[in-house]
């Protein structure tokens, strides 16, 4: 019998909005879905997962050595659980990307990365080559391990009644890694990139971190958008690393992608080409980004953005 295990992203306090999207991705499997919440002091996460439509059970693994979500400890216990499932789903976040292959290797199965569509229980679509190729992949492994591009799916809604939560015994502490420090930036009320309805993104053309702060963020906040950046802008220190959209950063599919001072490098297009509407502002009329945009405006960001914000009543 088919049964799906969804390994939820969270920070011990809150369930990531990515989980509700991965849940939607699993729907074509037409199988009961268990959500695995593994961490420490993460009861609230389990409660939130239990409320999602289509969740059959929440399985909770709570132990001190899971607090830092270290891949070595998590993979060990997930690999033990995975044997009772036909599918194990992760989001293709920094959490899932590091964890899913580790679990797969322990089970000696080939996982499928970055799935954008489940066509059949054994058949999946995924992009490769910076999104220039869409592969249809058949996987006949006894357990199908998938990492899911959460942005490609709508979030599942809250369900009528909460699913049951059952606590499982913890696995071993491998004791080979520990967290020294974390520098996490406060995202405030801004949505995560993969779950944002609108993404307002800046390139090196913006010119400075100060310009991101002064020009881009107010516009992003006017839309309730997630701010984003190109690799070049992150490399230049204009924006934090986890704002990076593209082949080697995040893949987003918002309703609106507003690209400011972005030239349109191949590896950037790979991360945003499936946005519902792409709007580009660039001073170079020949910029590649205009060939991929639904609407374009040529001009200097420093002049256009304040005017635009005023027009939008910001």
């Amino acid at each position: 019998m088919m049964r799906t295990l969804l390994v939820a992203d969270h920070d011990n306090r809150k369930l990531s909005p990515l989980a509700a999207r991965v849940l939607t991705a699993a729907r074509p499997l037409d199988a009961p879905v268990d959500v695995l919440v593994i961490g420490h002091g993460c009861d609230a996460v389990a409660d939130a997962a239990a409320l999602l439509t289509g969740v059959s059970r929440v399985r909770l693994l709570d132990a001190p050595h899971y607090a830092d979500l270290l891949a070595e400890n998590l993979a060990m216990v997930i690999a033990q659980l995975a044997g009772s499932y036909s599918h194990v789903l992760f989001s293709a976040s920094s959490f899932g990307k590091a964890l899913a292959p580790r679990v797969a290797a322990m089970l000696d199965v080939a996982p499928v990365s970055g799935v954008t569509r489940i066509l059949a229980p054994d058949c999946f679509q995924r992009p490769s080559h910076a999104g220039n190729v869409i592969e249809t992949v058949q996987c006949d492994e006894p357990v199908r391990l998938l990492s899911i591009h959460a942005a490609a799916f709508e979030p599942a809604a809250a369900g009528p009644a909460p699913a049951t939560i059952s606590e499982l015994p913890a696995g071993p502490d491998m004791g080979v890694s520990q967290v020294v420090s974390r520098e996490l930036h406060d995202t405030g009320s801004r949505p995560p990139l993969e779950a944002a309805r609108v993404v307002v993104s800046g390139g090196r053309g913006l010119g400075s971190a100060e310009a991101f702060e002064r020009l881009l963020l107010p516009l992003a906040d006017r839309f309730g958008a997630a701010p984003a950046a190109t690799r070049a802008a992150v490399d230049a220190g204009f924006a934090p690393n986890d704002w990076q959209v593209g082949q080697t950063g995040k893949t987003v599919e918002p309703e609106l992608y507003l690209a400011v001072g972005i030239s349109g490098a191949l590896q950037h297009l790979s991360g945003m080409r499936n946005a519902g509407c792409i709007v580009a502002i660039n001073k170079d009329p020949e910029a590649e980004i205009f060939r991929h945009a639904d609407f374009g405006l040529v001009g200097e960001a420093a002049e256009i953005l304040p005017q635009l914000l005023a027009e939008l009543g910001g």
Partner: protein
């Protein structure tokens, strides 16, 4: 310490690849190949650790047919001490590569494996964590800084929400992200010297592992084309197009 750097030959990432009309795979005519840029960053980090006196030997390895010799020669020209080609009769997938690399790692006994976080062709990002799991080693994925401290390695990782620094016991495996370093260029003199170096050859079959591909790629298609867009001539026109996306647009209507 000895560092193993697995490297992959990939289509040059500057090239927009095309698929064959029948969906059977990539149109390989006119493609240029290079070392996976993330692996180049891994090799650069190993070179810097050697220059700092921390690393004593850098071994690079690649799985594939004779075509990957060029990638290994490039790595030797950059400064790797030794190069090993695991000769494979088929195009591998990450699971098979990880098994062969595990077998190689057991022979070579490196203290550190440095490799790209993903290859820019398959974009799978699997081989690193798989290899770490098979060896039973800790992993530090998406490294943007790295320092070796006695019998441990500290890895700053680029994660969702910011940065995280892990301390891993050695031996360990680290996958490299873009901002770890800027790889050096190869000099002509070193390219000439690298031509004379030997590339050690090991048949994949000699490792006694099942490296055959498990996934079947049924079709490879181009993504849907977007329709040509419209150029606007004023900020007001732009604002008009953007208003429907405002969070409070419905309330205003």
């Amino acid at each position: 310490m000895k560092i193993l750097v697995p490297v992959k030959r990939v289509v040059d990432h500057e090239i927009r690849v095309r698929v064959k009309p029948d969906g059977s795979g990539l149109d390989e005519s006119g493609l240029r190949y290079a070392m996976n840029p993330f692996d180049e960053i891994a090799l650069e980090e190993a070179l810097r650790l050697r220059e700092a006196g921390i690393c004593s030997e850098i071994v690079i390895a690649s799985c594939g047919d004779a075509a990957v010799q060029d990638t290994l020669r490039h790595g030797l020209a950059l400064g790797a001490d030794r190069a090993i080609r695991i000769d494979t009769p088929v195009t591998l997938q990450p699971l098979g590569v990880a098994k062969l690399l595990k077998a190689l790692a057991l022979q070579e006994a490196p203290q550190l494996i440095l490799m790209g976080k993903q290859a820019t062709d398959s974009d799978a990002a699997q081989t690193g964590p798989m290899l770490a799991a098979m060896l039973g080693w800790p992993q530090g994925c998406f490294a943007s800084a790295l320092s070796v401290k006695a019998d441990r390695v500290e890895v700053r990782r680029e994660i969702d929400g910011g940065l995280e620094t892990l301390s891993l016991s050695l031996p360990a495996l680290v996958t490299t992200d873009l901002r770890l370093n800027l790889p050096r260029f190869v000099t002509l003199a070193n390219t000439m010297k690298a031509r004379r170096k030997t590339i050690e050859l090991m048949p994949a079959e000699s490792f006694g592992v099942d490296f055959m591909p498990r996934l079947r790629v049924l079709r490879s298609e181009a993504p849907p084309e977007r329709l040509p867009g419209e150029m606007l001539d004023s900020v007001s026109a732009l604002a008009g197009r953007l208003k429907p996306f405002l969070a409070d647009a419905e309330a205003q209507a």
